[in-house]
Amino acid sequence: MSLAADLLRVFLNGLQTGAIYILVAIGLSIILGTLRFVNFAHGALYLIGAYAGLLITLEVNLSNGLLREWGFETIGLGWGFLPALIIVPLFVFVIGLAMERFVARPFYDRPDTDQILVTFGLAIIAQELFRVLFGGQSINFARPGWASGPVSLPIIGNFPKWRLYVIIITGILVAIVWLLVEYTDFGLIVRAGTRDPEMVELLGIKLTRPYIVMFGIGAALAGVAGVVGAPLENVNPNIGTGVLVPAFLVVVIGGVGSIRGAVVGGVLLGMVFSVLVGAPLPSIDILGTQITWSAWAQVGIYALAAVVLLVRPEGLFGEEVTG
């Protein structure tokens, strides 16, 4: 295999790894930037998206859990993947609105720590609810036939089809949100509100509604991430918290409130991971211990965050923040 093929493969893998992070991080970042609300339950939206997607797409056999005890041996609609891709974002959008209304709003005036605590509690409740109902084990989210198997690409050869779709779907969604924020009046208000909410309100524009909608959109993106991300692995109650931490890193690296930052941050994380895993780096010997780079892949993304933070505390695309 040529070096070019290696590099291209590493690049595509990095892009794909980053894509899921980006989808989750955009919502986190926007909500943090506009509403100054930190949502530890954002991973739960990913989790809900994954389970909702699973149940719409397939009929699932249950082997334990409360639902099984109640007599459900199989559960799910079995409508296929495309309906899930449309219904889930709408569903999670509504959940996002409800979350804003009943969780976030009462906590806007409370200290930051209370926001974190209450959303952290909700994340636990969501996770445990799924565990109790579905029994905790991983459920196979099988991909539809048209999306499984490899696709042959120039130079690099076979590449998993679904991963390519993940990159494409993410690209489209990010573009839509980007256009919405950059080129509509709605987006203008949101952006202005991020910069200086008092000024916008003084101009007689109510910020509440655009903010709520942004909350919903951020939630819906996390839901979509659940639908497209879960077939890569399996669905179990822990995947929500599993994706939350890297998504936070993306926000930290990219800078709060910036869609561009989330995209760049996500791609960077994906690339660091992919390069450490797959790039043809020579292994080195330190004190007789063989250092393999792939073992450091998980650590690498955190190290990247640390470096960015030291050099640019506000993140790559963040506004200057004190403290």
Binding site: R9, I139, N234
Partner: protein, 454 residues
């Protein structure tokens, strides 16, 4: 880890105090656990107290510590079914108890068997805390459980410390009977090293004897030993390793690793991942079309993993603990009694381990004529048996590793799966072809520690 053998546990001294005539005061102080029957049921008084010996009351307590929540909960439930069945048979007869010459089917040594359950959540910390509750509060004389080597290793360390026997259920790491081995634990399950030995002849016969292979392995002790063992035994059989790459434990996305493997030009890919990691990596390998270009080998299968991977396991070789299709009297009988008890359910490999390990302990107690742990251990050591469906076996004294046959299987296509059947048995590699001396392999690193009566 080694504790001073002269030191005593709280229960010991409570008992000693009782014997010395302070029983009244101890009773007054309300040490109900220590006081209990007031020395009523301590059948055999010939040994000093140790661990939870002697037993108070007329019931001997077992502890079953399995994953009841978390990713292995379905496997844990199956283990628990087998444990409960074992207790039922020990008390009332039935199943293998009728065939084990040592067992009466009327309790063990005049004691009725009772049990407590615990949840490990597949987490070493939780498992250990749950086990110490069983030992301290519930006074178990033996505990058992499994589904992960980390939890088994955590629990057997506690077993040694507290002088209470641990009968390991599913744990496949070399370390369990290698560098982390203890006197108070016994393993029926084979290990990573033996899996390599069992697979190499079968796989090389099937695919040819001069292929090249590429390995991915989970980067922790189990994955590393599994990888080393596969390399050793397949290279001995004439294959050559192109590369071997570590993946982080608990990784859910193997695409990067897999595409490296794919572009390596190797003929075969070994996925040294276990459990859900294995389900993920295998599924993703098939997704990426690797099964069309390379022969995939999955060293160790289990049921949750097969469920997670679905049809992706079709035609892929691996080893399992036990399977209901194994054609011999004990296996058939176990499948039958298990099915009768639980609505026609087909028992999994770990269920057979759980059942066998509980009965093995009980039989050893009967042979020893006492629950005194050092004597029970001596009965188990170098004990030979052929009554659990895995051929002629020996529980080796030097490392407490059972020497046994190993079933090599091939995954069934998705359409033929279900009802507890996921694999087709290809061959059962006999004991004579697997294993290692006490001075080599993992056993070379094993120091069992003390019996507790030295």
């Amino acid at each position: 880890m080694a504790r001073d053998s002269t030191s005593l546990s709280r229960r010991d001294v409570m008992k000693t105090a009782g014997a010395a005539g302070v029983a009244g005061i101890v009773g007054l102080a309300g040490c109900t656990q220590g006081g209990g029957g007031g020395g009523g049921g301590n059948g055999d008084g010939e040994y000093p107290s140790l661990g939870n010996y002697p037993i108070e009351g007329d019931k001997a307590m077992f502890g079953f510590n399995v994953p009841q929540s978390g990713p292995y909960s379905s496997e844990g439930e199956d283990e628990l079914r087998a444990y409960e069945l074992a207790v039922k048979h020990l008390n009332n007869g039935g199943g293998w108890v009728d065939d084990f010459s040592d067992l009466s089917g009327d309790g063990v040594l005049d004691y009725e068997i009772d049990y407590v359950k615990g949840d490990t959540a597949t987490d070493a910390d939780t498992a250990r805390e749950s086990a110490s509750r069983m030992i301290e509060r519930d006074g178990v004389v033996m505990f058992s459980g499994g589904s992960s080597s980390a939890t088994a290793i955590a629990q057997q360390g506690l077993a040694q410390e507290k002088n209470v026997l641990f009968m390991a259920c599913l744990t496949h790491s070399n370390d369990t009977t290698g560098k982390d081995c203890v006197r108070y634990s016994f393993r029926e399950m084979f290990n990573a090293y033996m899996t390599g030995q069992a697979l190499a002849p079968v796989v090389t016969t099937e695919y040819g004897d001069d292929l090249s292979f590429y390995q991915l392995y989970a980067d922790y002790s189990w994955g590393q030993t599994q990888q080393a063992s596969m390399k050793q035994f397949f290279e001995e059989a004439g294959w050559s390793e192109i590369d071997s790459v570590a993946t982080p434990l608990g990784e859910s996305d193997y695409s990067s690793y897999l595409s490296e493997a794919q572009s390596s030009g190797a003929d075969a890919l070994f996925l040294n991942h276990y459990g859900l990691d294995g389900g993920n990596s295998l599924k993703q390998a098939v997704e990426a079309g690797i099964d069309q270009e390379m022969e995939i080998v999955m060293p160790l299968y289990n049921r949750p993993m097969a469920q997670a991977a679905g049809g992706a396991i079709e035609g892929i070789y691996g080893t399992i603990a036990w399977d209901s299709q194994i054609d011999n009297a004990p296996s058939k009988k176990f499948t039958e009694v298990f099915g009768e008890e639980y609505n026609g359910r087909v028992p999994s490999g770990p269920a057979q381990l759980a059942y066998a390990q509980t009965l093995q302990y009980a039989a050893a107690v009967e042979r020893a004529g006492t629950f005194y742990p050092p004597e029970v251990i001596r009965q188990l050591e170098d004990y030979s048996y052929s009554n659990i469906g895995m051929g002629e076996e020996t529980m080796r004294k030097c490392d407490h590793q059972a020497q046994r046959d190993i079933p090599v299987v091939k995954g069934l296509p998705g359409s033929e799966q279900g009802d507890g059947q996921f694999f087709e048995i290809v061959e059962i590699t006999p004991q004579s072809e697997v294993g290692y001396d006490c001075g080599s392999g993992p056993a070379a690193e094993c120091e069992l520690g003390e019996y507790g009566d030295e």
